[in-house]
């Protein structure tokens, strides 16, 4: 089973907690990951997503010079690199966020998105299904084989049939 560390993105955009909202906007506008993680000595303390920005800055008119801590989501729900994908899915189902920083020894090492986890599970399942189908076919053949041969073999069995 794949783990979080196999599917995470490793170049996560980060900002120091002293940054301002406009710095976050610049990062968000020029980066594809859709969020920026706020770190303090490599430890993630908050996260700002595109959604937060649109909700709090664009439509409520917060000032771009205000510190980032005014709009960040904190504390952050994070995942461990060794976590299995279905454990991750349970967290996603309860928390309903889309982006999760990956943390090891209190250091930010990556980012996983809901999309990546769901896609990885779906691919995994496809492989799994193919293996299972092969196993089933072998099983059916085996049963058929036993059934056909049974009539012949039964004369040698001690209990009779």
């Amino acid at each position: 089973m794949a783990r979080i560390k196999n599917i995470m993105l490793t170049n996560v955009p980060t900002l120091k907690k002293e940054a301002r909202i406009e710095d976050a906007a610049k990062v968000l506008a020029h980066n594809d990951s859709g969020c920026v993680v706020i770190v303090e000595n490599k430890k993630p303390i908050g996260i700002v997503t595109e959604l937060d920005f649109v909700r709090l800055v664009a439509s409520k008119g917060k000032n771009l010079k205000e510190p980032i801590s005014r709009i960040m989501t904190s504390p952050v729900t994070f995942m461990a690199p060794k976590m299995k994908l279905d454990e991750a899915l349970k967290i996603i189902d309860t928390k309903r966020f889309r982006k999760y920083p990956v943390v090891e020894n209190e250091e930010l090492i990556g980012l996983v998105t809901k999309k990546d986890i769901v896609n990885a599970i779906s691919d995994n399942l496809r492989l799994h299904r193919n293996i299972q189908n092969i196993v089933l076919v072998v099983f059916v053949l085996f049963e058929f084989f036993v059934f056909v041969l049974f009539g012949y073999l039964s004369q040698y069995l001690p209990f009779g049939a």
């Binding site: 610049k26 859709g34 649109v54 439509s59 999309k115 599970i121 779906s122 399942l125 099983f139 049939a161």
Partner: protein, 156 residues
Amino acid sequence: MIKMRSIMTKEVITTSLNSSIIEAAKLMTAKSVSSLVVVEKDVPVAVVSEKDIIYGIISKKAKVRDVMDKEFITISPMTKFAGLSRYLREKKIKRFPVVENKKLIGLITETDIVEATRDFTRFHQIVQEVILTIFGLATAFFLFYFSPIGAAIFSR
């Protein structure tokens, strides 16, 4: 196979070329959506995402027409799921207005696709478990029936 009609967002929030970015942002917040479709006489001409809005704010643009993304693909409601995942994974296009008879009838976003994949995966897992259970029980019965104990019980 899943058709787009069943997973698309039917209430598409639309905006016009000349509305302001702030209006668009307010609309997104009010309707809890992550993208708007820009329409001109009921025909989709572009899409606007959260990222476009952010870009518009820091570069001091005012109108939706200055930030909107004209590179999008319209799809028909009969498009199949597999056809779409290819666009999503390879071309990095994330929003697909659904058009039928030249009219906008829905929108597929990344979220819709992820949710559909999620549900489909769950459904598949259940089907797989059921098949395995039936086979397991059949095999167990089969082996038991032909075993000495089974022979005694069924008094063959």
